[in-house]
Amino acid sequence: MPLHLKRVLAFNVSRNPQRPPSHLLAFSPCILPIRKVSTLPPRATHLSRLQPAHISQLRALLPSSNSVLSTFDNSASSDDLQPYNRDWMAKYEGRSQVVLKPRNTEEVSKVIRWCGENGIGVVPQGGNTGLVGGSTPIHDELILSLSSLNKIRSFDPMSGVLTAESGVILEQADSYLSKQAEGFIFPLDLGAKGSCQIGGNVATNAGGLRLLRYGSLRGSVLGLEVVLPDGTIWNGLSGLLKDNTGYDLKQLFIGSEGSIGIVTAVSILCPRRPKSNNVALFSLPSYEACLKVFAETKSHLGEILSAFEMFDKTAYEAVKRHGGVKKVFEEGKEGGFYCLVETGGSNAEHDSEKLSNLFESLISSSLILDGVLAQDSTQSASLWRIRELCPESLSKAGKAYKYDLSVPVEKMYCLVEHMRQRMRDVGMLKDDGTGKVKSVAGFGHMGDGNLHLNVVATEFSEEVQSAIEPFVYELVAENNGSISAEHGLGAMKAPYISYSQSPTSIELMRQIKQLIDPKGIMNPYKFIT
């Protein structure tokens, strides 16, 4: 066995020789007691309840007739409020009776000051497209929707700095940028772009499909405007790329999931839109080959590489069965793994020359079994569609438990192999297909070391869940990975933070939360609890 592969496969062996490999451990939690996701926290006693009498006070703060929706004064029915109370997967549902839609930052500030004075819990909500139950109430918190803060304030074509309000939908921001004479692009792209809002993207530090090329929002966001829990408006909007004067406060709010303030506007650096795009899909025999091809691709394509995505055979089979896509590879040339490569450059001829050199090298080294290159935009979209259909197709294949994990890229697929072995060991995954688990699949953003692990079961059950959790979190913790790469903590993963963060980090986070939101009104029951 090559040394390289040995290192990869040996990753799971605990560094502590006293401790058996984690798949042999029973369900003993490794650091802190684990709370089941199904048992959400009880209603906090420090928060007051909203009363019908509050509505007139709120209407006085928000004069527009559409800004207050409540079942207290029959301005909305509980059906009308359901889309705000429930997340899109219908996994989490609160029972708030008040939705507010302020139209500008001052109105947000007034509402938050009022909430602080009255001890009312607030859930900020953008497009409500999250995957961890972070944007819906757990109990009766007031829902503050940012949809009406939807103005683009300014764009400077010289610097590429866009300043826009939180409620602007990601796709609209991107299409606004693409219509500029020189053609710009929003440095973030994700599946939910048609509904998600840029304020929510920043508040959750969303990752998505362009991260490999344009980096994390922590780099491209230049400044923020935030309403603090006491109603103060912090204007940290800046068009500066460099500013080393004190703590970089905006970083505290990026990815804070509404726990210490509400992002009301964002300044973000937007690059030029690539003039030429190419999409290729490779079929590979092993994950080791994926790693080598990834390295080779980076060295050949350099700055024009814009995405490197991976999916395994299990995911591809699900897409073929449930997604209705046309055949890509000849029989006999389908492998255990597939990699999708996208380039975006400024000169089509240069790009195709670079690609052509890469292909020659890949074919002559026999690293790939086969590969295809899209010849037009329609084919590019069809190839992307295979990767984008992975989550949905696996959900159609059964009841899919989904985990968003991040580990060093060379260890990425081992998580899937270990989970598969674990499911076999506990007798749930059987070769004849009669087990409680049908399959274990992996796909994800290989360029970012971000794996989406899916365990497809016949039913959602306590038994299957406790076979997966906390095993999966232990596995990630042992490899210094993250239990939530890009989805955040929200309500779902808040109890498991200790698998990715040390007690010291968690304590520091608690102190920050306490300092900025001493009354504990901001997005309660989630994130840091």
Partner: protein, 264 residues
């Protein structure tokens, strides 16, 4: 005299470089055409034609001797020919025109006719498979004109093509409310409709091989052709903007308005 039982068939597939299907078309600033500084690809109907030629050979390996892709267009039309070669065509012919030249359907038909008449002996073309129309000018007349000029039979808007014993070709056409089958003898022209097949992806090994395949480059003069247009484009304009309608500020307002109108 052609043999009645052709043992060897040479297929000619004309392919056009046109604006990519996914690109949003914009009227050019002079109002006489569209913005062409955008992504171009092979006309989708021609892609179907290339695919069908390759499938006919895959089904009848001994029958089809060669598949030649022909393109008339600016220097970059070579990319379109390369795509056809990467899909599986054997050789290419490129008739070069200046960058912004307009080549009308009758000129294209004449050029294809010249290419067919030029070939001799065992290289004679027996079957032309081409898109029923190009998605840029939507003329849809080249196939018919070519059949007229050559005096060949034609099976238009094909949704299925089969080569039968004795050099007969059966073409299934989609017509209102059903299918029509027509039968013709080689030599023949087939124009392709959308549902004929789903073109394959070009595989990397084939893309590399395609670079080594031969593309013959010709000028219109070499064939004694004159592409001077017979028509002048007076103006190109966008469809009129939709009138009326109002903007609502929020979904709730929309719902309220719809309730008002009694549609909810």
């Amino acid at each position: 005299m052609r043999p009645s039982l052709p043992s060897l068939v040479n297929i000619l597939v004309p392919v056009k470089r046109s604006i990519d299907y996914a690109v949003k078309i914009r009227v050019a600033s002079d109002g006489k055409g569209v913005d062409t500084t955008v992504k171009h690809s092979m006309n989708p109907f021609d892609e179907i034609a290339v695919e069908e030629a390759i499938r006919l050979r895959e089904k009848n390996p001994k029958l089809v001797t060669s598949i030649t892709a022909l393109s008339i267009g600016p220097p970059k039309a070579v990319d379109t020919i390369r795509t056809a070669l990467a899909m599986g065509a054997d050789a290419g012919i490129h008739i070069t025109t200046p960058e912004s030249a307009v080549v009308e359907p009758i000129s294209v038909a004449n050029a294809i006719k010249k290419i067919i008449e030029r070939a001799e002996g065992k290289d004679k073309f027996d079957l032309v498979i081409m898109g029923k129309q190009a998605i840029d000018d939507d003329s849809g007349s080249t196939g018919g004109m070519l059949a007229g000029l050559l005096g060949w039979g034609q099976g238009t808007f094909a949704s299925k093509v089969a080569i039968e014993e004795g050099g007969k070709i059966e073409v299934t056409r989609e017509i209102d409310g059903g299918l029509e089958k027509v039968e013709g003898k080689l030599p023949l022209i087939v124009t392709t409709d959308l549902r004929l097949n789903e073109p394959r992806y070009a595989s990397l090994p084939n893309i590399m091989k395609a670079k080594k395949k031969k593309i013959e480059s010709l000028k219109p003069e070499d064939l004694g052709l004159d592409f001077t247009p017979r028509f002048e484009t007076i103006s190109v304009s966008e469809p009129p903007k939709r009138q009326g309608g109002g903007k609502v500020e929020s979904v709730d307002e929309l719902v309220a308005k719809m309730k008002e109108a009694g549609v909810l």
